[in-house]
Symmetry: C2
Subunit: 241 residues, 2 copies
DNA sequence: GTCATAAGGTATGGGTGATGACCATTGATT
DNA sequence: AATCAATGGTCATCACCCATACCTTATGAC
């Protein structure tokens, strides 16, 4: 009575209810915020009470998380009114072999495929629905920000542009999932050099993408986005051989 | 110093680390299995010890979950060797207003959009990559099963077909996310009648979809899937006005 | 008929994290 | 200079959940 077949059908759903204890999950999420660059260096995270509230963990547990981040030099806490937890400039210590270690712990193909699906889907939805004035302006602004960006800030502003598109897609689940997968992509990208040629190509694609979205050209937007993702994917696969 | 803008950027990431206590999350996942019809009526779930192990919760907590399901008449426990937790035929008590109640607690647009993105993405990936013999056969078999299905089983086998496509996409994250969103869709669909006309149309689309995927026609597969999802979406939106 | 086995049913002790109150510090405002 | 308010820092209590062991029941194998 081997029900292995039936069991296999269950594997996608019957996953661990929690990916670790509350501490680990909270750490992961705050690292996501940092990896996505949602809070620029020098700015601060929400106050402990608010953070704990949002993550639905106790302040005690949250503080243990912040302690770790502080010990690693990623953030700094200041007391008093107008104090808070401030994001520091990353010391960038991705030693050699760091990339390989990261690759070993995740399924890169899974990440790249899922990312493409979400990005292309978001672009398609935005273009098909059309964006009203305010939203269109939001997208244009995010694009413009990437143009006159110092090299060190490019990754961050690029992430924000894509995240903006995801938000405009009208599906909060999609946005949340994209944030998660993009944080993983950024983690991988941190392990390889940032080439100016790739960057310029990216910028052309970004411009074409935004144009297509604002024109309501869904097929065009999807196609540009697909190529854009394929570029990153090829780059990463190349460095991971 | 209103940082509302900055805070808003964080909302996609700073979600509750846990959607409730372990009990609630486990209940949700097992309900997912039932809603997806992964275990046909009369068959049994994995043994308590294995289930608890997979969900990473204690058997005590799992048993509380099963107790609830048993009290609601969804499953039945039998002791002894070859015993287990068996799935019962649903008494189908979706009383009036049930649909409206469900709709009130979820963001239907979010669900429908996210579903479309995943389905279209999965179809595209499968078609673009091509499926080897075994996988192609798996897809054909899932399609065939829906053809000669009794009406009462249609929803279940349709779900399995789509889930199969998601699995073949090569992204386990995509598969897991699709399972989650499809469970929600099924929950909504349970609230509206199953029309034979829609069903026949669905079957035509399924056939065209599988053909396109097996032909490696990515654009075609995506287009068929998009229409397929749009159909369901229109149906649901119609009943939810 | 007896036994082994695999399943559900039960009891207990210990650890982790949540709750809520309180203290300490800082800088803007008055 | 005094005050206030928002923030980080600390602690005691308690509910929830886990790990583990053991008991009970039913069925096939011998």
């Amino acid at each position: 009575m081997a029900e292995i077949g039936a069991d296999d059908r269950l594997t996608p759903v019957l996953r661990p209810v929690r990916a670790g204890n509350g501490f680990e999950e909270a750490l992961e999420q705050i690292l996501q915020v940092l990896r996505l660059g949602l809070v620029p260096h020098g700015e601060r995270l929400p106050a402990e009470r608010e953070l704990a509230d949002r993550l639905r963990i106790s302040r005690v547990t949250l503080r243990e998380v912040l302690k770790v981040l502080q010990d690693q030099g990623l953030v700094e806490s200041r007391r008093g009114r107008y104090g808070g937890t401030f994001v520091l400039d990353r010391p960038r210590p991705p030693g050699e072999g760091e990339l390989r270690r990261r690759v070993a712990s995740v399924d890169v193909e899974d990440i790249l495929r899922f990312r493409e699906v979400l990005e292309v889907g978001a672009a398609g939805l935005c273009a098909a629905d059309g964006l009203d004035g305010a939203r269109a302006e939001q997208l244009r602004a995010a694009l413009a920000a990437t143009h006159d960006a110092p090299l060190a800030e490019y990754r961050r502003l690029d992430t924000l542009l894509h995240l903006t598109l995801a938000e405009l897609s009208g599906s909060s689940t999609l946005t949340a999932q994209y944030a998660a997968v993009r944080a993983q992509v950024n983690d991988l990208l941190d392990g390889i050099p940032l080439l100016v040629r790739n960057l310029e190509h990216s910028q052309q694609q970004h411009t074409a993408l935004v144009e297509a979205v604002l024109d309501g050209d869904a097929d065009g937007a999807r196609e540009v986005m697909r190529e854009h993702c394929a570029g990153t994917a090829a780059l990463l696969r190349g460095f991971l051989t």
